[in-house]
Symmetry: C2
Subunit: 143 residues, 2 copies
DNA sequence: TTAGGTGCAAATCTTTTGCAGAAAG
DNA sequence: CTTTCTGCAAAAGATTTGCACCTAA
């Protein structure tokens, strides 16, 4: 699935949910798709979107990001290392289970793993702690 | 190891690192030990410490918390659910590998698991991604 | 005695909100 | 047309910092 296709799909999702399709929203989504693996912060998304729609305001970006999060298009992520929220694209399907982070303590780079490493572990948690795991969040710190 | 003993140990660590042992710092550490499993926020630690040392200021608590984090007495944790940093005690030994969270999406309760579930997974990450895992951060969300 | 610590208030930083004008459906 | 969006500026909430006064060692 290429970017244009994804953009269309997300646009449809927006409209299906009763939201209007504005230039600001399309541009914001396009920026996010352009940096799919980059875990941008709101500020970074704002800056990049401004290149395309110069009159956009930061508040609009925050509102769009919030909206996309509610629609499960985006995931919010917070690393202790910096004070802000980062956003990353939910891979359409079972993202909740197939997505972890590698964070380099030396260069700050963030990479993703899309292999599910934890099914056995989740089963164990379920059995030992009477806890229904809906999703998990896993970050490895290292070099 | 009981609380008094832990407090002594941490006090020694502070002094060994060249910090002075003040009433505010002892009281703050005591509060943290009293709520060892509670993942308190700075504000909560401040409130509780104020009961013992009423003249303490929030800024001092933040400074102490920062200091304890640098000394690896505490760990900072951020959940997407609320905007603030929570602090939890590093279990003296190999906390980095033996500590995960269960977060209940219904009642908001946070529990800890002290079993290391991931050694096999870390090995795999190391092999597949040329990545030296120093520590990881894992939260399960569910009911 | 003196370097480091403290409380307070002001500053900062990220995110949210109120509102009057603009635009999508 | 009408409901939803938008940009701006102001507000809010968490954390940090500057400074003059304390205090542990």
């Amino acid at each position: 699935m290429d970017k244009a296709e994804q953009l269309d799909r997300i646009s449809e999702q927006l409209q299906a949910a009763g939201y209007k399709l504005t230039a600001q929203r399309s541009a914001t989504v396009a920026v996010i798709l352009d940096h799919a693996q980059a875990h941008l912060s709101a500020e970074q998304i704002f800056m990049a979107t401004k290149e395309v729609v110069p009159e956009i305001g930061l508040a609009t970006v925050y509102r769009t990001l919030e909206m996309l999060t509610e629609l499960h298009v985006l995931n919010k992520v917070r690393f202790i290392e910096d004070g802000m929220t980062h956003y990353d694209l939910c891979e359409t399907d079972h993202d909740h289970h197939f997505h972890h982070h590698l964070l380099c303590l030396q260069c700050g780079a963030i990479e993703e793993i899309h292999t599910d490493l934890l099914p056995a572990v989740e089963q164990q948690v379920h059995d030992d702690y009477t806890f229904a795991v809906l999703y998990h969040r896993l970050t490895f710190h290292g070099i």
